[in-house]
Symmetry: C2
Subunit: 258 residues, 2 copies
DNA sequence: GTGCAATGGTCAATTTTGTAGTCCTTTGAC
DNA sequence: GTCAAAGGACTACAAAATTGACCATTGCAC
């Protein structure tokens, strides 16, 4: 055997150095736009800024933005309309019937579980710290979001029920991220945002049912933060997260329903 | 006033879309090499793989690797030696005397606090889940690391005390990341690694003192994980992290010493 | 209806970044 | 002293992004 090969034998040397993943500019743009949509900053039906504006906001050329748009379009996330009041329109989530959804969640059960394990610790700590550190501004902001959610929960919805749900969801995201912001720990903020994005699909599908339930416990969390009661804030947040986890697990288990 | 400008007035529209940060290839390489060093995969005095090998491992061209090396060199992280058994050598951390260190830590006090808040929740949950999920392989691995740390703690060190400390630190990192691995939750693994990297500087400077203390509690954590006692695992981990936080805080406060 | 302005669609020229391959230089071990 | 294993330097090429201009479509105001 000659000795010219680099590694001893062909055995894999477990190197502590990983390959570089050099994303292209348009991939980063895709991710950034997806992120905004997943965090509910743009709702289905909303128009994104025009290509030229996006290029400016993102700090890349228009050509790059257009590459990204092609990807998002192919993925069904946005639609492109030409002409004067055209532009980029966020699509509705492809509606999944209960069966499809359940199959999908089941396949991702393990992943969902990981997400919730992580979410639990991150959001509980965020709630605790928020109770200790929140400013008056934080309270005003959270209060407004809560108010908005209450109105949305009261709205019967009717025809545009899906849109109400989307709005509610966006507000819910703002509430949870707002708590992380009040906790003023960048690691927690980042973690909370990551959770939200990871739950985008599953939650979007499930949450239409538990709107009103959520409101009460949100209020409890808010009050605890307002009263600077860290233990209570953590407690309620734990209940809330576990309730959400359970709601999703329930959707998975029972063979009943349509 | 003409209406040609895009935004109404010059007021900043708080857009939900951030600028893209398009890192160049060599920056990613710098980060990857830094990561390996900060996680203790390469200790001071160790040689990194040769440029050509690094290029292969990282999946980039040699020119790109060389750009990265120039950055790391300028930053004092590695030294370059030409000739036959030359190559890239990891430098010792610039030794900081207690005064300098304290000044530095003080300036980063807030940041350190954030790190520890986050570390606490991530590592406690990791310990808990590790107790529930660890495989026999995990136990063997953690046991080996623990063993190694015990030997290093026993070693008087003498002249090469700094090197012993570096080795101990690397083993400590392996222990904590090993627990996160045993918890088998990718979010926790990522979080734990991020913590480690963030603590690279401060810990490296402080830890020479509390080697032996750490060993006992590490053993306690290990036993709890072995016994699948989640509560105990979390409890000991909490104690451990808090002790470390305290050690660092102590270094900050007292005017004595030096 | 007409025209305008806003928007996406297309293209070409240029610059920047990264790769591939070659050869040179230094240096330690045998 | 020789040689092999490094880093150093250079050239030619390929790929990715930017820039800027111009075209095509469409809805709204008049």
């Amino acid at each position: 055997m000659d000795t010219s090969t680099v590694g001893e034998r062909t055995a894999e040397q477990p190197s502590p150095i990983d390959r570089i993943e050099h994303a292209q500019a348009h991939e980063l743009v895709v991710d950034q736009i997806r992120r905004a949509i997943q965090l509910g900053r743009f709702l289905p039906g909303d128009r994104l800024p025009a290509e030229r504006d996006l290029a400016g906001l993102l700090g890349v050329s228009r050509a790059t933005v257009r590459e990204a748009i092609r990807v998002l379009e192919a993925d069904g996330v946005v639609s492109v309309r030409r002409g004067a009041h055209g532009g980029l329109v966020v699509n509705r989530l492809h509606a999944m019937d209960t069966r499809t959804l359940r199959a999908r969640l089941k396949k991702q059960a393990r992943e969902l579980n990981d997400i919730f394990d992580y979410r639990l610790v991150v959001e509980c700590m965020a709630a605790r710290l928020a109770a200790e550190r929140r400013t008056d501004e934080d309270l005003v902001y959270l209060g407004e979001v809560l108010e908005r959610m209450a109105e949305l929960a009261a709205d019967p919805g009717g025809e545009h029920g899906a849109h109400i749900t989307a709005q509610f969801n966006a507000a819910d995201t703002e509430f949870h991220l707002g708590i992380a912001s009040a906790a003023a720990n960048p690691y927690l903020i980042e973690g909370a945002e990551k959770m939200r994005r990871a739950m985008f699909l599953p939650v979007g599908a499930v949450f239409s049912q538990l709107r009103t339930d959520a409101n009460d416990i949100h209020a409890a969390i808010f009050d605890a933060i307002k009263d600077s009661d860290a233990d209570a804030a953590e407690h309620h947040m734990r209940q809330h997260v576990e309730a959400t986890r359970k709601a999703m697990a329930d959707l998975l288990k029972p063979a009943g329903d349509a």
